[in-house]
């Protein structure tokens, strides 16, 4: 009996001591940085690569804080958005309810951002998105900040102007049926027609489609109906872009008109296939995307990333790195509190020089520096070359 | 040594004991009758021997080998074939196909070879000839191309026996081979059975309700009642056994 009592006392003593030890460590203050990204689904690779960029930012920040003797440390808590609006809402809810995070970096696409919006607004959680550009999420006063990539309201103007410069009397648009694609299509039509363009025939494809021959047939027929001076504008996600070019390359109409397209059409995979490269070259393919000018920080990020993960960072990975830094810097200034972060984030953003571009937020909490590069595919289809720039703030195109 | 030995077979379905401590022996080349009222456990016993039901206790010894734990296809490969009370055939296949199904080691069974008809055609013809011979034994040769569903009840029974023969069995388990068959044909079926025993030395264990026919052909008879073995003996012995008469005929 006595022995049992002793054992119980021992356990109590040990656990008290452990608790004290934990409490002693607790002098450190830990801020949780939520990470909501698609780790599965067709954008799973983006999500995984973005998370590495965020991990790098957090590791560097913690090292600096330690060297400076600060008591604050950051840790991440991540959840999979499954690349759907519902999944993004669930991911946000999971992160917030299990860790109490006040600030979440992500999600990726505009449809995911919009899916997570309601929960974020209602619970005072701040969302810092890195690559969403859909015009549908440009909403003043909400808890969503899109700090790096400017909204498509700008690029749609550039695409409209280029279409007219190329002499397209009419346009055919193929776009992904989600908030990003719908927004791009809507703004493109508006800007194109406001600037003197003619009719626009638009076709939406379902985001889950893996095979686009029906869509290609419809686009081809619409182009044939418009006649020779019509142009084609493709707003596709990665994967669908390759699948579309695959079936378009033997279509006599699609291979005889000029193409415009969003950035997903310019993936490395696209030019690896000689047939695809040739198709884009024949179509004088032009895209408008955020200016890829590097800042002094870009090569440093690249070297640090390779040193930490032993692999090259993917496209846009530095956007995630920058978004995480803006989020953490704001939390250091405003504390671990959603409302304070929301009020202070524009100020911090506007004083942040990142690895991609200077950030400057508009009244919607979106990147307002709309500096785009215009890229065209080389004649032999070997690469995309910068042929000019578009300044969204003055709405002017300059060619090199 | 007997061909088939059952040692203390037992089968429980939940709380119900369908077969209770049954031991019996079947000599090679004999026609053995297995009789008893409905629900006495005869069919269950057949299932236990054929591997279609799992034993609760006991052992099945066939040709000196313990086959208690074998699956039905393995039991068949050992040389025990069975027929059912309701003819169990592939009704959408021809009589010939039904008989060809159990043939062991066909060349065209293998997926790599099956698309190359020339490779297995000779082999198939050989088997088809053997099948025709077996069909001949049960007088079904003329009807080889008929769908099994188009045969008469008695012919279905005979086709089932033919299919069993194709596996070159040493023991045939038959569950009421004459059920639903006209009396004349029922005699025919038993005559075939006796001939097969005489010509090929096949042993038969037959569950049968038509005692008058069975008693004409059986060498030895076991009587089951409520899962137990009630009596055994020669035909005359059983026919005059008072306890058998009591459970069977209620007198």
């Amino acid at each position: 009996m006595l022995r049992k009592l002793l054992a119980v006392l021992m356990i109590i003593a040990v656990s008290t001591m452990l608790g004290a030890a934990v409490a002693a460590q607790d002098d450190m203050e830990t801020y949780v940085l939520g990470v909501a990204l698609p780790f599965t689904g067709s954008f799973g690779t983006f999500g995984q690569d973005f998370e590495r960029g965020i991990d790098l930012a957090v590791a560097q920040m913690n090292a600096e804080l330690e060297a400076a003797g600060s008591a604050i440390r950051f840790e991440t808590a991540s959840a999979d958005t499954e690349q759907t609006p519902e999944g993004a809402a669930r991911a946000l809810q999971t992160i917030v309810q299990t860790t109490g995070a006040q600030v979440v970096v992500g999600p990726l696409t505009t449809s995911e951002v919009l899916g997570a919006k309601q929960f974020a607004d209602e619970n005072g959680v701040v969302i810092v998105a890195m690559a969403s550009s859909g015009a549908a999420a440009s909403i003043p006063g909400d808890n969503i900040f899109r700090v790096i990539y400017p909204p498509d309201t700008f690029s749609s103007k550039a695409f409209a102007s280029i279409a007219l410069e190329r002499g397209h009397q009419n346009m055919v648009v193929l776009y992904v049926d989600d908030p990003f694609g719908n927004g791009m299509n809507e703004h493109f039509i508006k800007n194109y027609q406001a600037r003197g363009g003619g009719e626009v025939a638009s076709f939406a494809y379902a985001p889950q489609s893996t095979e686009l021959s029906t869509e290609a047939a419809a686009v081809s027929a619409a182009l044939a109906g418009f006649g020779e001076d019509a142009g084609f504008f493709c707003v596709c996600f990665p994967g669908a872009a390759e699948a579309f070019v695959q079936v378009a390359q033997i279509d006599p109409v699609l291979t005889s008109v000029k193409w415009l397209g969003n950035e997903a059409m310019t993936s490395a995979e696209m030019l690896e296939d000689p047939g695809h490269a040739q198709t884009l070259a024949n179509a004088d393919f032009v895209t408008v995307s955020q200016s890829a000018d590097s800042t002094p920080l870009t090569p440093i990020f690249h070297a640090d990333f390779v040193a930490m993960f032993d692999k090259e960072p993917g496209i846009f990975t530095n956007y995630a790195f920058d978004a995480a830094n803006i989020a953490m810097l704001t939390m250091l200034a405003a504390g671990n509190d959603g409302a304070a972060v929301k009020s202070m984030l524009p100020f911090i953003s506007n004083h942040y020089i990142g690895t991609a571009v200077q950030a400057f937020l508009d009244e919607n909490g979106d990147q307002a520096i709309a500096s785009y590069g215009i890229r065209q595919v080389a004649e032999d289809g070997s690469a995309f070359h910068v042929i000019g720039a578009y300044d969204g703030n003055t709405d002017t195109i300059t060619y090199e | 040594m007997p061909l088939l030995e059952l040692e203390n077979l037992q089968k429980d379905y939940g709380g119900l004991r369908a077969v209770d401590d049954v031991s019996l022996a079947v000599a090679e080349g004999a026609i053995i009758g297995l009789i008893g009222p409905n629900g006495s456990g005869k069919s269950t016993l057949i299932n236990l021997i054929a591997g279609s039901a799992e034993l609760s206790a006991g052992r099945v010894i066939f040709a000196g080998e313990d086959i208690s734990a074998l699956a039905p296809d393995a039991v068949f490969q050992k040389g025990i074939a069975r027929g059912y009370q309701e003819p169990s055939l592939y009704f959408k296949m021809t009589a010939l196909d039904n008989v060809l199904l159990p043939v062991k080691g066909q060349r065209g069974e293998h997926p790599w070879y099956a698309p190359w008809r020339r490779y297995w055609q000779r082999d198939e013809i050989k088997h088809a000839e053997a099948a025709a011979a077996v069909l001949d034994q049960v007088q079904l040769r003329q009807r080889f191309d008929t769908l099994a569903s188009d045969l008469s009840g008695g012919q279905m029974k005979l086709l089932e026996i033919a299919r069993c023969l194709m596996g070159k069995p040493r023991l045939l388990l038959l569950d009421e081979p004459t059920a639903g068959v006209a009396p004349k044909l029922a005699y025919d079926i038993f005559r075939q059975i006796a001939r097969l025993r005489d010509d090929y030395g096949i042993t038969f264990l037959i569950v049968e309700h038509r005692l008058e026919i069975l008693f004409d052909f059986a060498d030895y008879v076991y009587v089951m009642h409520l899962g137990n073995l009630l009596a055994e003996g020669g035909v005359d012995e059983i026919a005059s056994d008072a306890t058998v008469r009591e459970v069977y005929f209620g007198d």
């Binding site: 689904g41 067709s42 799973g44 690779t45 995984q48 049926d177 076709f203 939406a204 494809y205 379902a206 489609s209 893996t210 095979e211 686009l212 021959s213 029906t214 869509e215 047939a217 419809a218 081809s220 027929a221 044939a224 109906g225 990665p238 994967g239 390759e242 695959q246 079936v247 390359q249 033997i250 279509d251 006599p252 995979e269 690896e272 296939d273 047939g275 695809h276 | 279609s52 039905p72 296809d73 068949f76 074939a81 069975r82 592939y90 959408k92 296949m93 199904l101 159990p102 043939v103 062991k104 066909q106 065209g108 069974e109 293998h110 997926p111 099956a114 698309p115 008809r117 198939e124 596996g167």
Partner: protein
């Protein structure tokens, strides 16, 4: 509908219908022989496509070699999923629903193995490196070398499979399994072996379909899953039991997704984004109105022929 669009859509119907047929036959075969609606089937397609992609990336561009590699990998993944999951579960006498769920689970496992591999070697949205050419152009009719590969391969494989099932000893045994599996055991058919063979065939056909599907679109870990609902719709139209019904169903689904969809788009402005809904509509309509699919129609046609 302009004639050029009609012609293109009909060519697409034939091309995609042939691919659906190749995938759907495997589903019908698994359902009739194994009594399992196998959702992991999509993943055998993807595995075959990746095998084809890797072989083509290694520099071998002979379509026959590529398809054999795809067959082998598809067959192997089907056999492994049977031996590792379905067979042990059948031994435990689990319910139909457990089997369906486990087929989803094994599909997810294969899919994410492929995802991990694709991520490690960066194999997303690549194409099997067979260049695309136009082989025939006559007015509105344009046929590519892809069409010239896809359609005859599918047709030949469908014919071989049908003959195999109806004429060969292996087919006889498979039909016996499909019809009455416990009787097949009793009459000494080596049921487990025949099942293994059936899985090899099912997976192999799916693998070849994947290689051809990878020529039609880009290779991605989700490509098989993207097609599976259309493929199930085809198999359900075939009543999940009839081969000719399944092939007919595959072309009906492809026709609805291409020609009918484009007709509705051109004349009634129905958005092309509704395309993925078409197979769902077909499945629901068939299950509500005609659960047996085409089977009875085909039987009646055969009777009339006699």
């Amino acid at each position: 509908m302009p004639p050029a669009l009609l012609t293109t859509s009909l060519v697409n119907t034939i091309q995609i219908g042939s691919l659906y047929a190749l995938m759907a036959l495997g589903i019908t075969l698994t359902f009739s022989v194994m009594k399992l609606p196998n959702f992991a089937h999509a993943e055998y397609v993807t595995a075959g496509a990746y095998a084809a992609l890797i072989v083509s990336l290694s520099g071998v561009l002979n379509p026959l070699v590529i398809m054999i590699a795809a067959f082998a990998v598809g067959a192997l993944s089907a056999l492994i999923s049977h031996l590792a999951v379905f067979k042990p579960l059948e031994g435990r006498d689990v319910s139909f629903y457990t089997l369906i769920l486990s087929s989803f689970a094994i599909g997810l496992i294969i899919r994410y193995i492929l995802f991990t591999m694709a991520d490690y070697f960066n194999l997303f949205d690549l194409r099997i490196a067979i260049p695309l050419r136009i082989v025939l152009r006559d007015g509105n009719l344009i046929l590519s070398n892809l069409f010239a590969w896809v359609v005859p391969t599918s047709v030949i494989l469908v014919i071989i499979l049908t003959l195999l099932l109806n004429r060969s000893p292996l087919g006889r045994e498979m039909r016996a399994l499909a019809n009455n599996i416990s009787l097949a055991r009793v009459i000494g058919i080596r049921v487990e072996r025949v099942k293994n063979y059936a899985w090899l065939l099912v997976g192999g056909l799916a693998g070849v379909a994947g290689a051809l599907w990878g020529l039609q679109t880009a290779v991605h870990p989700l490509m098989g899953w993207g097609a599976i609902i259309s493929v199930f719709a085809a198999a359900i139209l075939g009543g999940l039991s009839s081969f000719s019904g399944t092939v007919l169903g595959a072309y009906v689904v492809a026709f609805s997704e291409n020609t009918v969809m484009l007709f509705l788009n051109a004349n009634y402005g129905l958005d092309l984004a509704f395309k993925p809904a078409i197979p769902f509509i077909i499945i629901i309509a068939v299950l509500l109105l005609r659960p047996q699919g085409f089977t009875n129609l085909i039987k009646r046609a055969e009777e009339l022929q006699r």
